[in-house]
């Protein structure tokens, strides 16, 4: 049986329980096992401890890689930011032996050591690597016919290509393809590879203003495409695009009415998993229009 070491992540395990439910339901159906640990620390986004101390910040991220190495299993992240931060540490430490030595000096203070052998996957990269298109298509026993989905890639699955490496850095296509394999139509629009400003910026008011302006541009793009739903890969993006709609309604009276789901929700629905088991009733915006269109 394929098994991963679950890296729960702060946003997914605390703010996005519906997404965690969907991931667990889909992986269970696929016979993929998840091992748990209670001692992973935050992935340490670059804007936080790395900004204070480059080497010790990297050591804190690498502490998680050391645990994965101990367990001998690939890490599975739910959040694209976790995937990006862990992949960045893995890449930097595999290329710079001096940095690895410094990081291990810090890890050694608590009896840990990283030897460079950790593997990092995100739910979407893992599923896409494990299954062929034909196999993914065959999983879709109740295809999402007639659903027009707007892919929203999120940054850290494909940027920077040096270590994210999942897709083309300028014209990513894989999420479009994954969506099509669920039977839905992937619509094109000009903001599908934009940044949501969710995971990289904790500057309070300024960040909120910036994030809302970008959310508005992204949602205007989705609306113009005529999509029924946004399909994202990252819980932070989902949160930003849902909360963004709520705020834009309140502040500007703009009503989009576009539900936001994750790729695993789309996959799960196409596999015949019930909306309840996918945690879709926990979404901030009502997904009923999507389910009605699909006759679920």
């Amino acid at each position: 049986m394929t098994e991963f070491l679950l890296y729960p992540g702060c946003v997914a395990s605390v703010r996005e329980l519906g997404y965690e439910m969907a991931t667990r339901a889909v992986l269970k159906r696929l016979g993929i096992g998840l091992r748990a640990r209670d001692d992973f620390n935050c992935c340490m986004p670059a804007c936080l401890v790395h900004s204070v101390d480059y080497v010790r910040g990297l050591a804190l991220t690498a502490r998680n890689l050391a645990i994965a190495e101990e367990e001998g299993l690939p890490l599975l992240t739910l959040c694209s930011s976790c995937y990006g931060n862990l992949s960045r540490a893995r890449e930097l430490l595999s290329k710079d032996k001096g940095l690895l030595k410094d990081v291990n000096a810090a890890l050694g203070e608590v009896g840990k050591r990283y030897c460079g052998g950790a593997k990092v996957e995100h739910v979407v990269t893992a599923l896409s690597r494990m299954y062929t298109e034909k196999e993914l298509g065959e999983l879709s026993t109740t295809p999402l016919k007639g659903l027009r989905a707007a892919p929203f890639y999120g940054c850290h699955l494909f940027l920077p290509s040096r270590y994210a490496g999942f897709d083309d850095p300028e014209f990513p296509k894989k999420l479009d393809r994954l969506i099509e394999l669920t039977g839905a139509e992937a619509v094109d629009y000009h903001e599908k590879t934009s940044c949501c400003i969710g995971c990289g910026n904790f500057f309070g008011k300024v960040s909120d203003v910036a994030a809302l302006r970008l959310a508005e541009a992204i949602l205007d793009g989705v609306k113009a495409s005529g999509a029924d739903v946004v399909v994202a890969t990252c819980p932070f993006c989902m949160m930003q695009l849902e909360v963004g709609q709520m705020k834009l309604k309140e502040e500007k009276g703009k009503e989009y009415g576009i539900p936001v789901i994750h790729y695993v929700d789309a996959l799960g629905l196409s596999m015949g998993i019930s909306p309840g088991d996918l945690g879709l009733d926990l979404r901030r915006l009502d997904v009923a229009p999507v389910l009605n269109k699909l006759g679920r």
């Binding site: 620390n41 986004p45 204070v52 480059y54 400003i197 500057f203 960040s207 926990l282």
Partner: protein, 160 residues
Amino acid sequence: MVSTSDLLSRLLDEKKLSFCQDCGSCTGSCPMARVLPGQYNPRRLLQRVSHGLPALLRDEELWLCAWCYRCTERCPQGIQPTEVFLLARNAAAGEGHIPANPTAVMRQIMRTGRSISVPDDFDEWREGYGLPPIGATINPKAINEQRRIFGEENLRRIGA
């Protein structure tokens, strides 16, 4: 251990920064520059790193990057602005200039192991949805480990 200033001199090497062609790919690619025109501009930040670092270290513009890595992906000279800004922030932190909001999130991480606070009864809520417990904090031994890895001096800097 290599010091931050060694890393700084490695990445903020003036010769390397002089490779900048001033093409503006970084600013043209930047989501923050797009929505905060006049307020955030990575090309200008890079220029200030090589010509005016002392004043930049006290400026909040240094802390507005959202880490999407588009500039690093696209810079035709391979300058990696994201890494340069990170090291410039290290220098700012060394002088005691760490903005309040990131400080608050870092304190939260050092206290609980997570960037988001978790209510004491959260596991009951998770259980209601068939999800396994995660605890109000990560394993206390792991919290202690991360504090020791971050180190006394850094903990003092963020007041944690």
